[in-house]
Amino acid sequence: MTSFRLSSGGLVSRAKPLAFTFDGRTMRGFEGDTLAAAMLANDQMLVGRSFKYHRPRGIVTAGSSEPNALVTIGSGGRAEPNTRATVAEIYQGMVATSQNRWPSLKFDIGALNSLLSPFLGAGFYYKTFMWPSAFWEKLYEPLIRRAAGLGRASFEADPDRYEKAWAHCDLLIVGAGPAGLMAALTAGRAGLRVILADEDFRLGGSLLSEAVAIGDQPASEFASSVIAELASLPSVTLMPRTTVFGWYDDMVFGAVEGVQKHVSVPSSDRPVERLWRIVAKRAILATGAEERPLVFGGNDRPGVMMAGAVRTYLNRHAVAVGKRVAIFTNGGSGYRAARDLAAQGIEIAAIIDGRAASTNEAPAGVRVMRGGSVVATRGRHRIEALIAERSGYDETIACDALAMSGGWSPVIQLACQRGGKPVWSEDRQAFLAPDVGPQLRMAGAAAGEESIAVCMRHGRDQARAALADLGVSVPLVVIPGVEGETDGSFSPLWYVPGARDKAFVDFQNDVHVKDFGLAQREGFGHIEHTKRYTTAGMATDQGKLGNVNAIGIVAGMGGVSPADLGTTTFRPFYTPVSFGALAGAEVAERAKPVRRSPLHEWAKKNGAVFVESGLWHRSAWFSLPGEKTWRESVDREVLNVRANVGLCDVSTLGKIEVFGKDAAEFLNRIYSNAMLRLPVGKARYGLMLREDGVVFDDGTVSRLGEDHFVVTTTTAYAGEAMSHMEFAAQTFWPELDVRFVSVSDQWAQMSLAGPRARDVMSQLVEDDISNEAFPFLGVREVALKGGVRARLFRISFSGELAYELAVPAGYGEAVADALMEAGSKHGICPYGVEALNVLRIEKGHVTHSELDGRTTADDVGLGRMVSGQKPDFIGKRLSTRFGLTAADRTQLVGLKPVDRAKELKAGAHLLKEGAKPSTVNDQGHITSACHSPVLGHSIALAMLKSGRERFGEKVVVWDGLRGEEFQAEVCSPVFVDPQNRKLHL
């Protein structure tokens, strides 16, 4: 193994060596290395395989635009596929693995695809694999899927944590290169709140890769001194390892900070990544520029890389990418690379300059081939030679690396994420950011500026302009001189003619020049069509390297300017962001909050089994020793309520207090039935409609005083009903004097139901609650023995003599305990929502199983609750529409199976006897079903066409989904105590 590490220099900590493995081979690097730098130092140029042809690929860049050097880092629950080696910071013990190859990186069977490439041009798959039809899912597609994709995701749970935070600032600066640093210094020295974010783990941007001097210091030392000053300023926040990935409305930027992605074992005290929402008054994008590859034959050979990347590895990481480096350029960048390489004594094979003439100077003794081009490369897993052509003559030049530069493209993605389209600059031969207003400005290379000196000044000036918008004028930061910078200009060269091998534009997706030609011929000339047909720009790098070349090439094919062709759309995310970071802490059991009733602990100690109900955990049933199934418990609870008495937690119902002198009038307009003259001390069942006349929700309305009501809603609609009432009060009838407050969480509410309910309740209540003193639908505030003030409602969902007792939440458990104790001699048992459901089905009471957002009051037999008298209430007018009053609508009925052993199930449909199952023959469906322990067989509520006329008819219950079909008898939906005698006991 040859070491490509220089003996000195660079910004790595040689005192801190780190060992890592790549495909099982142990390698060494230093703190401050990216994985790519360390691999290059270890002579590991081959890193991965391409997507389609499985061509060997190396490292192309030294940054976040890397298309090729993707690896999987870590294993198990920490495995991260598709990680760019060029940005991953190495740590001791890092395990990196190559991807998309089988059986090994060096020998990959998939590379056979390359031989078939004439048949695998852009969009080939749209033209074949159509016969026989079943083969697509069974044969072709599995093969394609297996061959496609890149890394392999783990399905193990992630052991690490993520978190989210907000940050606020006057000025957000994205990018800590020459422009960003000067912008930050300008605003920071003036005491403004500045956030300087950079995706790199070390701030400084291109200054870290430069060999020039700024003031008296090397560029990187200058950067360090500026950063040290910024760090000392209290109003400046430096955020390295933080990628600003999106610009959203209202000057909110999404950013993700790598907190512990660079450590061997993350501490559980801290997140591995942190998602930031940064709210900025002004922002400056100093995001630099991306160097463009040259599109020539064999440009994907490992060892062919960006000239700027070559300099980064050399100057920042002290790694030479080769021993004999060739350079192919159309501008000054190639010469800068040559100069820096030569300064380190690296042999330069030749500079091939696509331009016939230029003012750039090569280092002494280095051969320059002006007007030349590279047409092919040789070598298997690393470039061994290139074939250059000039004036029709070929020359093979041996090299082990090839630095290329096709010019620069400003990094403008963020500025274009909110609808602004990039603007072609003929002058800069690049797309620049559009004018998106004064809140967001581009600075430095991101604005198309070229030299370090100009970029620094531009950063400063843009910061001054941004601050001037905010009404702040700041002193001028003095920019030191830059020495040793050479001309970096370029002439565009979209495509190098004469390619003798594939000339790739999008490396990762294997899109080469011929694919564009094919797309043009086939009519996919719109740049969005070209992208979608060829897949150019759709890889994990989102076309950061290739898109501009693609546009140049396609524009050239059509004989138009890139300005006419335009670009594809920039969208978040600037670089890919993990699900984990975006999800934050809201995962697993913490995915959503849990709501627990004030009687939760009471239920728990009484043996409750809980069930999810929206956000609530509700007690479903209370299992006794010896009960083997839930049905046994529920049957016992139901029978006990019917025979003795039961206690049920109903605290989850929505509870809204309504006050004001117009409270009654307001409720009269909210509910479809009359509420205006509800007497004080009385409760009434109420129905709310939506404005379209369909039932919205139901509950009870209790009048506690002339100007004071408390209404209940269903558990599921508590929030919506509250919003609905607030909307009506604030926007329909703001003149009404009415106020509400939701008190759902303030009261523990329990239903005590059964013939012995009064015997039990009267032991706790001081007041007289005899049937005469407190009849059905009575409501009053009562004093409990011991002094607690409570509300007592004589209402019933079960059909039994029943009370609902509401006490302040904190007393809930004690009061429930007291009721249980008082009830012990009366055979009390706790019952859960399952028994509650059985009790209400037996009584034919509806819930949202019946009130499913499509049913009218009349459908469920509550037509009388829609007042014809009231002038106005929500839902009145549209409830009379033709379709809502049609005679063949489905109506609520009861069902009993003819064979009493059969089990009715919700979701089954109904047919007339002898009718074939079909949509046309569908007569309705079962909405709720249960085993009725009272009747000893299954019963159901159903919606049946014209159902109320059909009591006694036999229908077929059709449940094809569960393979059942049997007869049932249509009956009244009230199975138990149809005369409601028990309510009035």
Binding site: D250, F727, T731, F732, P734, E735, R877
Partner: protein, 92 residues
């Protein structure tokens, strides 16, 4: 607008604290209005591109309903008013 909303009662708050109901330009007709008017109120929406008034509720804040006057192409917000204030103005 899609990230932050300035509630007239609570100040600038994140979008997640708000729920949206819909077009605020439609006004609930009087009980005497025609069937056609009622149908249009409940169902028909102008759905313009550009300036738009929409009902939002500061559900996780002051619970007030607001009229957010904004642009539905650029998402720029022109102003946010308490819906009751607006309703009273409309009534006059």
């Amino acid at each position: 607008m899609a990230s932050l909303i300035k509630c007239p009662h609570c100040g600038v708050r994140p979008r997640e604290e708000f729920s949206v109901r819909g077009d605020a330009s439609v006004v609930r007709p009087s009980p005497a209005a025609s069937d056609e008017e009622w149908h249009r109120y409940v169902h028909i929406r102008e759905n313009p591109r550009g300036p738009y008034r929409e009902h939002w509720q500061h559900a996780a804040g002051c619970r007030r309903w607001l009229v957010v006057h904004r642009n539905n192409v650029t998402h720029e917000v022109y102003d946010v008013m308490d819906a009751a204030t607006v309703a009273k103005e409309v009534a006059q």
